[in-house]
């Protein structure tokens, strides 16, 4: 039972949402799959729970110039199965790994981002496509790269009064494909112990993002540099993976995966992804 005492509002207009959100003690409610647990455990005590699902501007998955817009209030199941996200495969797959089907029907992509979890399944795919976050407040709008929005475990650069409106992914390059792999203790209804998203155009222009390796989901820039020196070889992939493994120091207290396990799995997941993305392709 939730014993907290708060007001509930579900405005239809973005302006009204922002006005309510500017007041102290307001807490945004998107899918509620995390918020209701916090309320039930008395870990938060908002004076106002502000349901953002009534605002049209926060909904929708549609093409925009140079890429794809996804509204913050879109359920992750919609992100997983929408025809337009299939060109951003690592995102669709990552979103499809969250919780279980029933959780995914409610949990939103905005919530998955704003929780700031290092193991957020939708975020590696977003980072692969250099996603920007669109933030709105009564003061106006600002857009910044998602990578800079993620500040640390449970911390994002969401300022008081701001609402995440949505994300914009940049369209893949010619022949660009991606893949998401994660490892968890049990298949389904578990959080990621380690995850990797890989983008490449054939065996070129690699992008790599990892979940649960660093304090935030992040791109593996050094490994990308090594791989993009080319020409691609298994040796080069091993070198790139070694650069990641040598640079991470996961905490031992994680209940989901030991540092040794994460380090052992990173090269494996990268290799699986590169092989899968180039299955059947011929390379000189």
């Amino acid at each position: 039972m939730i014993t907290a005492s708060y007001r509930y509002e579900k405005p239809a207009a973005l302006r009204t949402l922002l006005e309510y959100n500017a007041a102290e003690g307001a807490k945004l409610l998107a899918g509620g799959t995390d918020l209701l647990l916090l309320l039930r455990e008395d870990r938060i005590s908002p004076s106002l729970v502000l349901d953002l699902k009534g605002v049209e501007e926060l909904r929708g998955i549609y093409p925009v110039k140079g890429g794809l817009f996804i509204g913050a209030a879109e359920p992750v199941q919609a992100v997983a199965e929408h025809p337009l996200t299939q060109d951003y495969r690592a995102l669709a797959e990552g979103a499809g790994h969250i919780g279980c089907y029933e959780i995914r029907n409610r949990a939103t992509i905005g919530g998955n981002i704003c929780n700031g979890s290092a193991s957020a399944d939708s975020v590696p795919g977003l980072l692969l496509y250099d996603a920007d976050v669109q933030l709105v407040s009564l003061q106006g709008e600002r857009t910044l790269p998602l990578e800079r929005f993620l500040l640390g475990p449970g911390k994002v650069d969401l300022r008081p009064g701001e609402v995440l409106r949505g994300v914009v992914l940049k369209a893949p390059g010619p022949g660009g494909k991606s893949k998401y792999y994660r490892r968890s203790r049990v298949k389904g209804m578990d959080l990621s112990g380690i995850s990797a998203a890989v983008y490449c155009e054939g065996l070129k222009n690699f992008r790599i993002a990892l979940g649960a390796a660093w304090p935030t989901v992040a791109r593996a820039r050094k490994a990308e540099e090594i791989l993009n020196r080319g020409p691609y070889s298994d040796r080069l992939l091993e070198e790139a993976a070694a650069a990641i493994v040598g640079g991470i120091s996961p905490r031992r207290s994680s209940m989901r995966a030991s540092p040794e396990y994460k380090k052992a799995m990173i090269p494996v997941l990268l290799k699986m992804a590169v092989e899968e993305l180039n299955r059947g392709a011929r390379h000189e």
Partner: protein, 185 residues
């Protein structure tokens, strides 16, 4: 605290109420609507006992506020059976012995119903994916999966036979292939 006016349709019946903003949909259904078929299990969104259909999709009613259900169409496990007959899924669950203590079953049944609406002839993988978030401490997963397949086959056969296209024959038990049931250990 304010009272939130809600108007929703539960199992085909319009309900208007003023709800406490802290009340979950689960407790609204059980305590206000008197529909105790939906079970309160972990109340953390982990076990699936509280699953209901909300606008056609299975969701966990323990992590949804009643206020959020304003304007929604909800179906609970009570909507499955008619006065004359159990739903083909319920019949198949009985035939396969898929129900032991029964606590998880209301959630599993609505999840299975939604699955069969998405995939009338589901693969093993699709069944596991759809029911994978439902915890059964009696360990009846195998029998549940078989029951869903049996119900799917029965519904497809009934659909083919039914002149009115209602989906399955109402009134009277469905027949199940004998050998399939005898196969079970």
């Amino acid at each position: 605290m304010n009272r939130v006016p809600v108007s929703l349709v539960v199992n085909g019946e319009r309900i208007r109420a003023q709800v406490d903003p802290a009340q979950t949909l689960l407790h609204f259904l059980r305590n206000e609507a008197g529909l105790t078929g939906t079970k309160s299990g972990c109340e953390n969104g982990e076990c699936g006992a509280c699953a209901v259909l909300m606008d056609g999709k299975p969701v966990r009613s323990c992590i949804i506020l009643a206020a959020e259900a304003d304007g929604a169409e909800i179906f609970t496990v009570e909507s499955l059976a008619t006065d004359e007959a159990l739903h083909p899924l319920q019949q198949a669950f009985i035939a396969h012995g898929a129900v032991q203590c029964g606590f998880c079953i209301p959630g599993v049944l609505v999840a299975a119903k939604a699955l069969l609406e998405r995939h009338p002839d589901p693969s093993e993988e699709e069944i596991v994916e759809a029911l994978g978030g439902h915890l059964c401490r009696c360990g009846g997963y195998r029998a549940m999966s078989e029951a869903v397949r049996t119900a799917a086959a029965a519904m497809a056969a009934a659909h083919a036979e039914s002149a009115d296209g209602s989906g399955f024959k109402r009134g009277g038990a469905l027949e199940y292939p004998k050998e399939e049931l005898e196969d079970r250990p």
